[in-house]
């Protein structure tokens, strides 16, 4: 078992941390938040130069040929800086779906452009009525004159505001789940910022011309594997965010003076910080397990493990986020101060591709993690 970063992963992590430390201070981020498009195209170009936008797919398609584990490395650093660029949307979701399910022609047409930073993707999957179900879709694909169209409404589409092409999940006439590529121009968008500032949209498709990804119409397996890897990397991102919340809080406890002494002189508050640390370590361990699980071949085990990891991560992030704001007092409630933005990002992560109850239910019904003797 590889429980530590490899040298290569360490280097990757340091490179990104270094870049973000210089270019992503909280004030820069606040300026990005309030201005279109809500993130930095210059940094997107830097990520392309560093090879981050092609990280998980084959060198043949302009990628770096690294695994999902490296995506987790990237996202943990992104979590520390609260990166706003549509990386999860375009690379983790969109490009990985194309890489997993697309035909060689589709991969050749799309992936090199994603890697170069010239093409933005998104994955339109969540629906209002389906809540968190990934199979209970109301969006349908129908065949027309040798081609396909897709009809339905998707919500909470990460990066859906700016994507050039969108991968859409839809029920095929056989009742399978298919994945379809839809051009940005063929969709209607209701764009917004998410509660954490990342950009997205609700999308309306009305007989939108669509191209099936790959040759088989049944894409449920490819989709499940990409969703699992997205859940695992979101765990890593949340760990990065939690780590920053803890250290911001610790720093504050050491410097803020009330009643003639630093807040941190109160043992009651020292213990609160210690409990945050406990929660962080638990989350870090499960995020690592999720990363390892992506490399396994047992699909059921992978699925259960990444969901179990997300449960721990969400519990820890809730604890750490609420405590971080609380221990800052009023200042923690302000837009200007970073800690609330971490709370918001982790609260949104906790409700992306399933919430706590959904995950508990799913891991529980699938047998849990420890077998009965």
């Amino acid at each position: 078992m590889e429980l530590e970063y490899t040298d290569e992963q360490r280097l990757l992590s340091d490179t990104i941390d270094d870049l973000l430390e210089k270019q992503y201070d909280p004030n820069t981020r606040l300026r990005l938040l309030d201005r279109e498009p809500g993130w930095s195209r210059e940094l997107w170009a830097r990520y392309a130069e560093l090879g981050l936008l092609g990280l998980p797919f084959d060198e043949a398609y302009g990628g770096a040929g690294r695994g999902p584990a490296e995506l987790a490395v990237v996202l943990e650093s992104f979590g520390r800086a609260l990166v706003l660029e549509p990386y999860v949307a375009s690379v983790v979701l969109g490009a990985q779906l194309v890489a997993r399910a697309g035909s060689p022609e589709q991969k050749a047409a799309i992936l090199p452009r994603v890697a170069a930073g010239d093409l933005l993707l998104a994955f339109a999957h969540t629906e209002a009525a389906a809540r968190w179900s990934s199979t209970d879709l109301g969006t349908v694909a129908v065949r027309v004159d040798g081609g396909w169209t897709v009809t339905g409404q998707k919500i909470a589409v990460l990066g859906g505001d700016s994507a050039d092409k969108v991968v859409v999940s839809a029920k095929t006439p056989d009742g399978e789940i298919g994945l379809f590529l839809v051009e940005g121009a063929a969709l209607r968008r209701a764009p917004y910022a998410f509660q954490d500032g990342l950009r997205g949209a609700d999308l309306l498709l009305r007989s939108a011309p669509a191209e099936p990804l790959g040759s088989t119409l049944a894409a449920a397996d490819a989709m499940a594997s990409v969703l699992d890897s997205a859940i695992a990397v979101l765990c890593a991102e949340a760990v990065g965010a939690m780590e920053r919340m803890l250290w911001l809080t610790v720093e504050y406890l050491k410097t803020r003076v009330q009643f003639g002494q630093p807040l941190g002189a109160n043992q009651a508050l020292q213990h609160r910080a210690a409990d945050m640390f406990v929660a962080l370590e638990q989350a870090r361990s499960m995020a690592l397990l999720a990363r390892l699980a992506l490399g396994g071949d047992d699909v059921g085990e992978r699925r259960r493990t990444v969901r179990a990891a997300k449960i721990q991560v969400d519990l820890s992030a809730r604890h750490i986020g609420q405590e971080a704001v609380q221990l800052h007092g009023g200042i923690g409630m302000t837009w200007e101060y970073p800690v609330g933005h971490y709370l918001k990002r982790t609260a949104v992560i906790a409700r992306t591709f399933g919430d706590l109850d959904e995950l508990l239910e799913s891991v529980g019904t699938e047998g849990g993690l420890i077998s009965a003797s």
């Binding site: 209002a128 209607r188 003076v257 009330q258 609260a347």
Partner: protein, 398 residues
Amino acid sequence: MDIALSKEDRAFAEKLRGFFAEEVPADIRARLARGEHPTKDEVVTCQRILNAHGLAVPHWPVEWGGQNWTPLQRHLWSEEIALAHVPMPISFNTAMVGPVIANFGTDAQKQRFLPPTANADIWWCQGFSEPNAGSDLAALKTSAVRDGAHYVVNGQKIWTTLAQYADWIFCLVRTDPTVKKQQGISFLLVDLSAPGVTVRPIRLIDGSHEVNEVFFDNVRVPADQLVGEENRGWDYAKFLLGNERTGVAGVGLIKTRIARIKRLAGQAAAHGRPLVDDPLFRARLTRLEVETTALEMSVLRVLAREGRVGPGKPDPVSSVLKIKGSELQQEATELLVHVLGPAALAYRETADMPDRFAPLPEGALDALPTYFNWRKASIYSGSNEIQRGIIAKAILKF
């Protein structure tokens, strides 16, 4: 809960309920029921309606518009206001500065301030906290120096709720820097339109503008706007903060939040059935209802004792009500987010959707912002850590 009330108390509550339903504009109440905030005008309008019927300041002395109610009746009043989705009368007016002026002000101050304070002709805000005086409120530094018939005020207040609506601010100021810090503080009323006062907005994490910084630069305040005696301000502040012993629990607010959660969870589907029938969800909801009922019984116990022996000295049970009340208010906001599911994730200023998009479910706009915003409830009104300190001191007696 009704089983804990006498027939008379129930009739009293029902009468109020009928009044609110009939006299307070239905559109305002409907908006609040949907989780929207009242506008400044709506708050003022409603307070004036209540005031016209003697229902804005029932806990004030009778000669200034109060009612001779029992503590329990006052509680039922505030609870019914919440349950009827009536905007609360401005608490800075009715629960804070009004009683201070009524108890410690001069006759001239009472004449001048109490009627417009009850009628929301003046909107007050509270200038206690400062950047370096939060939990340690007595460390406040804003100074007021006597100069003839005036005080000259310099300094800064922070976290001043709704100062952007306010006409006046009641402040704690330092009038004697040479004595023990609690002993050099005075209670001063300041007109926000006076030269030298600047109000600056602070944006909160949910994007809202609710609090402000207030700066005082050589502001000349007539000396007849000092309340009570100079350097006794700390006592008046303690009186003010101790006044609302049971209101901080916010039982009515929690109940309205739970009622809305139940209604919306009946409309949301999960796994092919209404969310409200989902066992995990139901367990969460039921636990919240049980804890809220326990809190309400604690409130009633405190009120019963108060009715018997009168308001006594600070009681650690008030701290219990603050801690548990704020926590349950917060939990209710979180459960609503849960009901909304993925529909809670977008930040939206309006519920209008482009043509042909499905309409948004109720709660999509406010659920997650309110969760973020309500983290404040365990910070203000004496943080929950300070409250735990009070309880610990009372029971451990170290």
